[in-house]
């Protein structure tokens, strides 16, 4: 059984049935899944969670769809890694990295897609579609293949080659659109009205899809022994993930899985080349002005973020902050995480680590806090960003002499440093 009581407009609170609806007919506000928290409180226990599968579905009662056999590739329960070497470089104390590159298609999107398509199948949809900056396309194509659904994914034409290949290989339709992600998104939002029999995971099924990101909070709390961290750093594209991470920690307390009310400071990470939410935060305004993105962090290149306002509100209310980081800082962030912790992140992960470094230097992220940085996509997806700066440190003839000569050179500089 599930504990969903329906959908509700986040702005005007009008109720809706739990169908493929994503915005309020009246005010266009986003719809949210409403749960029966009282019933959850008396029926969900830590022991039940622990006895569940090693996937996001161990938290099924807190997800918006109930299905004994969800569409699942083995998503979730990704490593939470204690990052002492990175912490030492940044002057921090207890630092953890949530390594969500370890999901089946290499990003956190598997969490939201597993939830969205399981619900879509339950609602009778046969076609899985999405507007994507790449990671979502990967995940929708893979999950649709596993479920035997038709997939049609829409991506901006200038996407990284790895993200195109790792989507197309699953055999679905891949439509490259001549425009930015915001153009792709607008097109899909309009298509949703014309093709009501298609499940656009981040449009008409978005209400359910977004809930999958709560598992990023659930897992961290469980991995910390059912405690919440003091401060989390979350990358911001649309703002949905950040908002849902905050909601996840709050829900754990609401249903009794966390004893104490969590007070998690939530900070947002954006690329300077696409920072509408960080800019509004810096300017102290509520108005988020859309921008035309120019950044190597293409998975965050959303100039017109759907949940930007909510991400801003969440960060402000929690006592967190935003930072925006340049392309060079992003690359430094990728290399810093790789050489200190052995984790290779995509450009969006570089945004997270660079933001962490910036906020630590500013004293916003503090040494006395237990900090979790969310690294949500694998570096192999965006290798183009590093091809000019990461290569062999020596190229030698296959002889002992050449080897010793190269080592003699290397001995003065052990390993490349940014």
């Amino acid at each position: 059984m599930d504990f969903v009581t329906g959908l509700r407009c986040r702005e005007c609170a009008r109720p809706y049935p739990a169908e493929a609806l994503h915005v309020c007919d009246y005010c266009f506000g986003p719809l949210e899944v409403a749960y029966d928290y009282e019933a959850l409180r008396s029926s969900v226990t830590r022991e039940q969670v622990a006895a569940g599968p090693q996937t996001i579905w161990r938290y099924a009662p807190l997800l918006p769809v109930s299905d004994p056999e969800p569409i699942d590739l083995g998503t979730g329960c990704t490593p939470l890694v204690r990052a002492d070497r990175l912490a030492a470089e940044l002057g921090l104390g207890e630092l953890w990295v949530k390594n969500d590159t370890a999901n089946p298609t290499g990003s956190f999107k598997d969490r939201v897609v597993s939830v969205a398509l399981t619900k879509a199948r339950q609602l009778g949809f046969k076609v899985a579609a999405c507007a994507s900056t790449g990671n979502l396309a990967n995940s929708v194509a893979a999950h649709a293949a596993r479920a035997g659904m038709v997939s049609v994914v829409f991506i901006p034409r200038d996407l990284e080659v790895a993200k195109v290949v790792t989507t197309a290989v699953y055999g679905g339709h891949v439509v490259a659109v001549e425009g930015t992600y915001d153009d792709v998104n607008r097109l899909c939002a309009e298509l949703t009205s014309e093709l009501p029999s298609w499940a656009f995971v981040n449009v008409n099924v978005r209400t359910y899809y977004a809930e999958g990101s709560k598992t990023l909070a659930f897992e961290v709390a469980e991995q910390l022994g059912w405690e919440a961290p003091d401060h989390v750093i979350v990358p911001v594209g649309s703002g949905s993930q950040l908002t849902k991470v905050a909601k996840g920690f709050a829900e754990l307390h609401a249903v009794g899985l966390l004893d104490e009310e969590p007070h998690v400071r939530v900070s947002g990470a954006q690329a300077a080349g696409c920072s509408p939410v960080a800019t509004a935060f810096a300017e102290g305004t509520d108005a988020i002005r859309p921008v035309k993105p120019h950044t190597i962090a293409k998975s965050l290149a959303i100039g017109n973020p759907a949940d930007g306002w909510y991400a801003l509100e969440t960060v402000r209310r929690s006592g967190g902050a935003f930072a925006a980081v340049t392309d060079d800082e992003i690359l430094d962030g990728i290399r810093l995480l790789a050489r200190t912790e052995g984790i290779f992140a995509e450009t969006a992960g570089g945004v997270t680590i660079a933001t962490l470094a910036k906020l630590a230097a500013q004293g916003v992220v503090r040494r006395d806090e237990r900090v979790v940085a969310y690294v949500t996509g694998h570096g192999l997806k965006t290798v183009e960003a590093l091809v000019d700066t990461a290569g062999p440190t020596a190229t030698i003839a296959p002889t002992l002499e050449a080897f010793h000569e190269a080592i003699a050179i290397d001995a003065t500089a052990p390993g490349p440093r940014p």
Binding site: E11, H22, V23, D25, Y26, C27, F28, G29, P30, A131, Y181, D182, D183, N185, R186, C188, A189, E190, T192, S193, E194, P196, F200, N202, V203, R206, G237, S238, G239, S240, Q241, R289, P290, K292, I302, N304, P305, A306, D307, W309
Partner: protein, 91 residues
């Protein structure tokens, strides 16, 4: 200026189910006002009490967000298409 307005599913109860409507106006604001005249109810749904577009409504002229143009004052040309699109999508 005669302009075609594409109407999202959420607002088609106001147009008798039609996916588009054709109205006159010389700016985006005038077109939307004319739309409300032809199909009463659009004004309430699109604008807040202060007369600004609601936070979660996006309007595109020839597929460009009017916030990158001149907003409601953006001039429209004969035969152009204006799209009303719910903002909550994507990501």
């Amino acid at each position: 200026m005669s302009v075609t307005v594409r109407v999202p599913a959420q607002l088609r109860t106001l147009t008798g189910g039609a996916s588009q409507a054709t109205v006159d106006g010389s700016t985006v604001g005038e077109v939307l006002k004319a739309l409300d005249g032809a199909h009463p109810g659009f004004g309430d749904r699109l604008f807040d009490e202060g007369g600004s577009l609601r936070r979660f409504v996006n309007v595109f002229l020839a597929d460009e967000d009017v916030r990158f143009l001149e907003g409601l004052d953006t001039p429209v040309a004969d035969g152009q298409t204006l799209s009303i699109v719910p903002a909550v999508a994507g990501g």
